[in-house]
């Protein structure tokens, strides 16, 4: 029997894709496995309900509630602020508003900003804050994270909006809709699941970043009461605890990482569930 080359080709590439998928899934589970294994023993209710007490960093009692609340404040604040700026920018980049040549120039700038290492945003923010005479604070941290998140959010939204079929816009125009009505009722609904993905992507980047908030948000054992108080964060909590010479504290670093992971997971899944209803209406 003659073996067909096209069949071998088909099998080979299928095997390749399956293998790659397993490598990616395997890596994810390896990461989760290692941090749960190393930090599982330190995970306790007091980790998520208490702020550090005296001697916490020597292995005595307390928790990382300060960092959990801090990370939520920083992540949600920066994501909300980015969303506020990103939506109009992403819409403005579409060919209905901006000449494609200029839009592409803006896209290029955003792609460069996307690639800027987050420590640069931290240093940049810190310089501005020194100039203005501000201390490391929640406000400073949110601002630096917003700078970090915005290019990601705008470009991800932009790609989604670009994919909305022209015929769908025309369908709206033909019943006498204006450009604004078309963009904000038809295009935005069609793109909604993608817009949510863009927000999640940016949020994930923001809440997990340590470098940009190291100087701008500072670190504290307390929960901030105003925008001008310094604020703790989970990535930095991991960093500081891992840097101590005590095994108990190092285990708490892994436990903090588990908490961060679970938070991101919960927020991602819940926003996905929220948009599932809207996704039913999308025209394919």
């Amino acid at each position: 029997m003659k073996i067909k080359w096209s069949h071998i080709e088909e099998k080979f590439f299928k095997a390749l894709m399956v293998a790659v998928t397993f490598i990616v899934l395997g890596s994810l589970f390896a990461v989760i496995g290692v941090i749960v294994f190393k930090g599982g023993r330190a995970l306790s209710l007091s980790m998520i309900t208490q702020t550090p007490r005296g001697g916490y960093y020597l292995g005595k009692e307390g928790g990382v509630l300060n960092a959990i609340v801090g990370s939520l404040y920083l992540g949600l604040g920066a994501t909300a602020l980015s969303l506020l700026f990103s939506l109009p920018i992403a819409f403005y980049l579409q060919k209905e508003y901006l000449h494609p040549r200029i839009a592409n120039l803006v896209r290029l700038s955003l792609d460069v900003l996307w690639g800027v290492p987050s420590i640069i945003y931290g240093v940049f923010g810190f310089t501005i804050m020194l100039y203005l005479g501000l201390r490391a604070s929640l406000l400073g941290g949110i601002t630096a994270l917003t700078l970090l998140e915005m290019p990601i959010m705008v470009r991800a939204m932009d790609e989604i909006l670009k994919m909305v079929p022209n015929e769908l816009k025309e369908a709206s125009y033909t019943v006498g809709a204006t450009r604004f009505e078309t963009m904000f009722t038809v295009v935005s609904r069609q793109a909604l699941p993608g817009i949510v993905s863009a927000v999640i992507l940016a949020f994930g980047r923001g809440i997990g970043d340590a470098a940009s908030i190291m100087f701008t948000a500072g670190y504290t054992d307390h929960i901030p009461h105003s925008l001008f108080d310094p604020v703790a964060s989970l990535p930095l909590a991991v960093f500081f605890q891992l840097g101590t010479p005590f095994r108990e504290v190092q285990e708490r670093a892994y436990a903090s990482a588990v908490i961060l992971l679970v938070m991101v997971l919960l927020l991602t899944v819940s926003s996905r569930l929220l948009t599932r209803r809207a996704a039913k209406y999308v025209i394919r």
Binding site: E167, A171, T174, V175, G176, V186, R189, K280, Y281, I283
Partner: protein
Amino acid sequence: MCHIKVENLRVSYGDHTVLKDVNLTIPHNRITVIIGPSGCGKTTLLKCFNRLLELQDDVKISGNIYMDGVTIYSNRVDVTELRKKMGLLSQKPYPLPMSIYDNVAYGPRIHGIKKKNILNEIVEKNLKASGLWEEVKARLKNPASSLSIGQQQRLCLARCLAVSPEVILCDEPTSALDPFSAQKIEETLSDLKKEYTIVLVTHNLRRAKRLADYVGFIFLGELIEHGNKRIIFENPRNERTRAYISGESYL
């Protein structure tokens, strides 16, 4: 009786001229069918009527189109009002990403109708006119994307009718549909000509013969001939029209 009059219409994309000096009159409450091979400029002509063409880059339009004797190509024309008067049914149905009900109510809502009971009336009336009401009346809140493609096209027709247009422009509205759905759309269009002026573009001659009152033949961007269906189909004056209609090669 003339509803739309096209005068020396010339359209080019960049250096490429798509329509050359088209002159055409479209009568009131009749179905005017524009026939011609693919890529000869039929869709372009249709998109000139509702000024959708000018949204594309690099398009030059000259000449004029009059509706009831008034030019539609002037700065004083409110384009959204014009498009409201000229409904379009496209080749592939594109329902909006919302429920069946909202698809029909979309047009009336943006034109300022807010009252629930008036909207309900409009939705029911137009879904009946497009022959979809019986099939969807129990699931108006379902996504439009859950309908079959034939139903989607009738939904698009209802959406178009809901803003009470004067003219319905149809761009091969049945070519993506199964024969049964296509027939339903055709029957609906024949009924609708009592109230609307219909301009239909097609390369399907049998469909043209069935539906048309008035026929125009476009070839390579030129309007070769136009007139009553009987004259065009039985006794065309132009050699190229005769060749196209009889299915001969026109080299």
